[in-house]
């Protein structure tokens, strides 16, 4: 915890994204974007998430290019372990063939896991480095340089993932059942009688929209809370060290679990969407 902050300022500083927007006077950052509304963009979320996604795809692609069916290298064995794990889950949950589901699940799992693991980087490291860069590189006040390094604590990102999955749910529902079949499923379940159509529609639409919402909020909520606790622990002085350690150890479980849950629910939702009742 940097001493020149009050605790509230410190926490707020750590929970603010680096923002970029286009104003009348050109490209502006952070506080200048306060009323940019929807057309602002979180630079740190974008940079870290895309960076980690590219890292994941680069690593896997590098292995995939020189993949051998003989004795695998150690990194190939690792990649195959991950791929096999995801594939087993997809095969056991999603009945039917789809070239999309398994790679989708792999991307979601590894990407979210990598982004979640940013949570284990000590909370002050990246903001401090960013502050130095801002201060000495661009002559900014380090208090105005923001760096929220865990992309999954940004609701924009988790909601984007969930909306992507939601789009696929709609796509698969219509592809497998047709527009009419999909509408019929929404109207005639759970009560199979025409008089219940409005009730059914309300129930089913709530169910349908709850899915992406719960996906997005679960991941966001878990990661935001854990990041917040990390930041809170960082404010208590020397005793933060054992507490940090314990909280981090606990997150060795939580972080992969959240990535796994997001992946599993995606598979389940798509499986439900592509099955006829």
């Amino acid at each position: 915890m940097a001493s020149e902050y009050t605790t509230t300022e410190y926490i707020q500083h750590h929970l603010t994204n680096a923002t970029m927007c286009n104003t009348d006077t050109g490209i502006a950052f952070n506080k200048a974007c306060a009323d940019a509304g929807f057309w602002a963009i979180h630079v740190d979320t974008m940079a870290w998430s895309i960076g980690l996604g590219v890292l994941f795809l680069y690593f896997f692609r590098r292995i995939a290019k020189k993949v051998t069916t003989g004795v695998p290298t150690k990194s190939q064995a690792f990649v195959e372990l991950v791929v096999g794990f995801v594939n087993d889950n997809v095969v056991s949950t999603f009945h039917g063939r789809s070239a999309l589901i398994a790679p989708l699940a792999l991307t979601i799992f590894v990407w979210i896991l990598l982004m979640n693991l940013m949570d284990l980087v000590p909370v002050d490291v990246l903001p401090t480095i960013a502050g130095w860069v801002g201060q000495y590189g661009f002559g900014m006040d380090p208090h105005d340089v923001y760096m929220k390094a865990v992309p999954t604590t940004d609701l924009n990102l988790t909601l984007a993932l969930a909306l992507g999955v939601f789009a696929l749910i709609i796509f698969y529902s219509i592809k497998m059942k047709g527009v009419l079949g999909f509408a019929k499923e929404l109207s005639f379940t759970p009560f199979n009688h025409w008089a219940f159509i409005p009730v059914n529609l309300i129930l089913e639409l709530v169910t349908l929209f709850a899915r992406p919402l719960s996906l997005a909020l679960r991941l966001f909520g878990n990661l935001y809370a854990s990041e917040l606790i990390f930041i809170l622990i960082a404010t208590i002085g020397l005793w933060q060290l054992p507490l940090h350690f314990m909280w981090a150890v606990f997150h060795i479980l939580v972080l992969p679990l959240q990535a796994f849950i997001f992946m599993m629910l995606t598979i389940v939702y798509l499986s439900l969407a592509s099955e006829d009742h």
Binding site: V67, T68, V83, N87, L157, L159
Partner: protein, 156 residues
């Protein structure tokens, strides 16, 4: 919590990542894994086959060994029997030969004895006649007394 166009940026990034993964990452990895699974399955099947072949070969070898042993025993048996038979035959032939030789000897002795007997008889007859001549002091008409002589000789 401020929602903003990060959402759109992330949606695009997500779509691109999934597309890339689906196009360039998943298929080669999965193909390699499935190929290796096939190789391993083939290897396991081959080893199982080899084990079965080995068992079969061992069973066959055992059978052949047993058969060979049986044959050897049979041959040995036959040889013993043949040998016994030969010994028996030879013994019998030896016996027969001996009997024959003995019988021949007897016959020869008998013949010799008969011949000597005849000789003796003739000599005794001649002696008897000459004795009788001396006693009578005269010639005996051998012709006339022949039947008497004959009778004498037969009595000897």
């Amino acid at each position: 919590m401020n929602m903003n166009s990060t959402l759109i940026g992330q949606l695009i990034a997500f779509a691109v990542f999934v597309w890339f993964c689906m196009k360039y990452v998943w298929p080669p990895l999965m193909a390699a894994i499935e190929e290796r699974q096939k190789i391993i399955a083939d290897g396991l099947a081959a080893s199982e086959r080899a084990t079965k072949d080995l068992e079969l070969a061992q069973a066959k070898a055992t059978d052949q060994l047993k058969e060979a042993k049986a044959q050897a025993a049979e041959i040995l048996d036959q040889a013993k029997k043949r040998a016994n038979q030969l010994v028996d035959e030879e013994t019998q032939r030896g016996h027969a030969e001996r009997e024959k030789i003995i019988a021949q000897g007897y016959a020869e002795i008998e013949a010799e004895r008969n011949r000597v007997k005849e000789d003796l008889r003739k000599q005794v007859a001649a002696l008897a006649i000459s004795g009788a001549e001396k006693i009578l002091g005269r010639e005996i008409d051998a012709q006339a007394q022949n039947d008497i002589v004959e009778k004498l000789v037969a009595e000897l």
